[in-house]
């Protein structure tokens, strides 16, 4: 594995290796000195064309815990804002000897394009509405950590599937790892060819909840509200929001996940968000271990 561009590129064994490696590396976080010398002398560039403090910080922390040199390259205030193309930026990073480039970009496929132009490894940290592979991997890690397995797990992904790179990556990865995924959304927020995806589809959250081991809520992208994807926030919340009452209808062991940022009151109530069954903060913590694992494996670990 040279790059991590899509969870669809991962075999079951590769994905499992990443999760197992993350589990080992998670112990580093429990030590007083949270650092390994593994990637000493290697350079990791965080190339962020979109603001994302949490993801960038998570990657930065992961690289630093492995002793890599980290360069944060933000589009704002850089040559990019002066009109430099992605290709020229890539060639600059190449000339600086970057061993890995972590890229977040608003354009689907930007990570794929970058991989054509640099010799180092490219990690897709979210490209447009395409994929966010490390998010899916940390989600899978969290599920396995909490519930002890992925094989046969019933996972409901709820909300704005159409615009969600997280949903795309999760469907591909969880299916590879033997889980059963059901997408739940109004038809307007589902991709047109969703019937060809390796998952179930439902428009009825109440029908799906009692049969789910995991309910993953997605953020509804408010900026798209004007496009009439649904009539009103109130109607959306009534049909697809997760509140305490609905939480009560889920199996007792079932967990609630959210990739963040959460919009409390619309897609998830404060009661659910603050419930011990909600794994949001664990997901964040697990993200560091998982990203350490990916960097370690891509940059020559074994």
């Amino acid at each position: 594995m040279r790059h991590l561009l899509s969870t669809g590129d991962l075999s079951r064994d590769e994905a499992t290796l990443i999760l197992d490696t993350a589990a080992e590396l998670a112990q580093v976080g429990d030590r007083s000195v949270k650092k390994l010398p593994t990637l000493r002398g290697r350079t990791v560039v965080n190339l962020f064309y979109e603001d994302s403090t949490r993801t960038r910080t998570s990657f930065e922390l992961a690289a630093k815990r492995l002793s890599a040199d980290v360069i944060n390259f933000s589009a704002k205030g850089s040559s990019v804002s002066k009109g430099e193309s992605l290709k020229d930026t890539a060639l600059t990073l190449q000339a600086m000897g970057a061993d890995a480039v972590v890229i977040r970009h608003s354009a689907s496929g930007a990570a794929h394009r970058l991989a054509n132009w640099v010799d180092g490894s490219v990690l897709n940290a979210g490209d447009g509405t395409h994929e966010h592979p490390t998010q899916a991997l940390l989600d899978a890690y969290t599920m396995r950590d909490r519930l002890g397995r992925l094989e046969g797990l019933r996972v409901a992904v709820v909300g704005d599937i159409l615009h969600s790179r997280v949903a795309r990556s999760n469907v591909l990865l969880l299916t590879t790892l033997g889980a059963h995924v059901t997408l739940v959304a109004p038809p307007t927020l589902l991709p047109v060819s969703v019937n060809t995806w390796p998952c179930e589809v439902s428009y009825d959250l109440d029908e799906v909840l009692p049969k789910s081991d995991v309910v993953m809520m997605l953020r509804v992208q408010a900026e798209r509200m004007r496009d009439s994807f649904f009539p009103s926030v109130r109607e959306y919340s009534r049909n697809y929001g997760l509140d305490g009452e609905r939480l009560g209808r889920m199996p007792a062991e079932a967990i609630v996940m959210h990739p963040g940022p959460m919009v409390r009151g619309m897609e998830i109530s404060a009661e659910v968000a603050d419930s011990p069954r909600c794994t949001v903060t664990e997901q964040v913590a697990n993200g560091v271990s998982l990203r350490m694992a990916v960097l370690y494996l891509l940059l020559g670990g074994s």
Partner: protein
């Protein structure tokens, strides 16, 4: 500009793929056709053994970019590229900078074409001022200009306002013009990046639904029939569009349609690479659409092949998919792609290729002196094509200023050996003359 030359005797060419004969070009016309013709004094003899002779190709849909984007193409470089592809006449689309929406701009393009001399350049006039879709351009002035414009199009943008489209269709009847519509319902394609379907869902690129094209075609066919005018549909790309045009023709609507070579060969699966070389408007569609387009061209539902030659400088394509320019060059590869998709598959004869790529486009565009029969007395606008000379496509080696060919790296089955414009070779032995 090609020098004017004396007579040319073409030895052993196969007109429309038929039996070999000799053709003598003199004084700009076909002077004789027959076996073993004697070369007149001073004649240049061209060995055309094994080559197919077709009437010079006519493209109803070319972007020459001049004025305004001479970094991508000029009238001279574009018409040289056309000659290399076997074309003797091209229609230059109106989306230049400034837009070709006045008599002044269309005359400028027309004169630049005459000065270059590689093929006849017929400007297309804009339907609306500035392609803005608000107000009719001075269509009559362009029709009356030296350029004698007969084809009007806002290509690149759909004339979406039904009333404006009706008025345009009605207005051009006064001078036997035609409205060439870029069928794209704008609201259904806001932000669209590629064909809407399984691949767009997988890639996370906003989809461009087939119905956005089909709905406009259906509307325009009904409008054209209602007002009794001629409608031409640009770059048809979906199976549903073919079905609608077939239905409209059966109803008696005076509609014609074109398909591009790239839509006859390529599918949206290629976008998996995220390489913007495959980004085009309308987008590459599915294998089922490609099959329907081929069948539609074969049975005459789709009347012609048009290139939609759309040159772009490198930097416009060496970027992220969503910011890349839409379009592909195609003049120099069109005939070979048509051979591969339509002739080698048994769907068209060479005589039918002559119709789809020369006779019919000349008729639709009201182009005099082109698309004529290969007969004594006709203008010697002729292409000699070798159907058994496979060639690897290399964008850098083309005559066009840009290199954005989607066929890069493919081997196409044949190549143009010579192009004659009124008896003068613009291309000889595969090279610009």
């Amino acid at each position: 500009m090609p020098e004017s030359t004396g007579p040319h005797l073409i030895r052993g060419a196969r007109p429309l793929g038929g039996d070999p004969v000799d053709l003598l070009f003199a004084d700009g016309r076909i002077a004789a056709i027959g076996p073993d013709l004697e070369a007149p004094e001073g004649a240049q003899v061209v060995d055309a053994t094994g080559l197919i002779a077709l009437p010079g190709l006519v493209d109803l849909h070319t972007h020459l970019r001049e004025p305004g984007r001479e970094d991508a193409e000029t009238v001279a470089s574009g018409s040289r590229s056309a000659a290399m592809g076997g074309y003797t006449s091209v229609h230059a689309m109106a989306n230049t900078e400034p837009v070709a929406d006045t008599a002044g701009v269309v005359e400028q393009v027309w004169r630049l074409g005459r000065e270059a001399g590689y093929c006849d350049v017929r400007p297309v006039g804009a339907v609306t001022v500035g392609l803005a879709g608000q107000q009719l351009a001075e269509i009559g002035a362009m029709a009356d200009s030296a350029a004698r414009v007969r084809v009007f199009s806002d290509d690149g943008i759909c004339v979406w306002d039904a009333l404006l489209m009706r008025r345009a269709l009605e207005y051009v009847k006064a001078f036997d013009g035609v409205i060439a519509q870029h069928a794209q319902e704008p609201r259904l394609t806001e932000g669209a990046q590629m064909n809407e379907g399984c691949v767009s869902d997988r890639l996370g690129l906003p989809g461009w639904p087939a119905v956005a094209e089909e709905a406009i075609i259906a509307r325009d066919c009904l409008l054209a029939q209602h007002v009794g005018s001629r409608l031409h549909v640009c770059h048809v790309s979906t199976k549903g569009s073919v079905d609608i045009i077939r239905w409209a023709k059966e109803r008696g609507c005076d509609v014609t349609a074109e398909v591009t070579p790239h839509h006859l060969l390529l599918t949206d699966e290629l976008v998996e690479s995220y390489d913007p070389i495959y980004k085009v408007n309308p987008p590459l569609r599915t294998a089922e659409d490609v099959q329907a387009l081929r069948e539609g061209l074969a049975d005459g539902t789709i009347d012609i092949v048009a290139t939609d030659h759309a040159p772009h400088p490198k930097e416009a394509k060496e970027t992220e998919w969503s910011t890349a320019a839409m379009g592909m060059v195609g003049l120099e590869t069109a005939l070979a792609v048509v051979q591969q998709t339509m002739v080698d598959t048994g769907l068209l004869t060479w005589a039918q290729v002559a119709d789809r790529m020369s006779t019919a486009p000349a008729r639709i565009g009201r182009v005099g002196g082109h698309g004529r029969e290969l007969a004594v007395g006709e203008p010697a606008n002729v292409v000699l094509y070798d159907p058994e000379a496979p060639v690897g496509v290399d964008g850098e080696a083309m005559a066009t200023k840009s290199s954005n060919t989607p066929f890069r790296g493919l081997t196409l089955p044949g190549q143009v050996r010579a192009t004659f414009l009124r008896g003068a070779p613009t291309v000889l032995e595969g090279k610009i003359n």
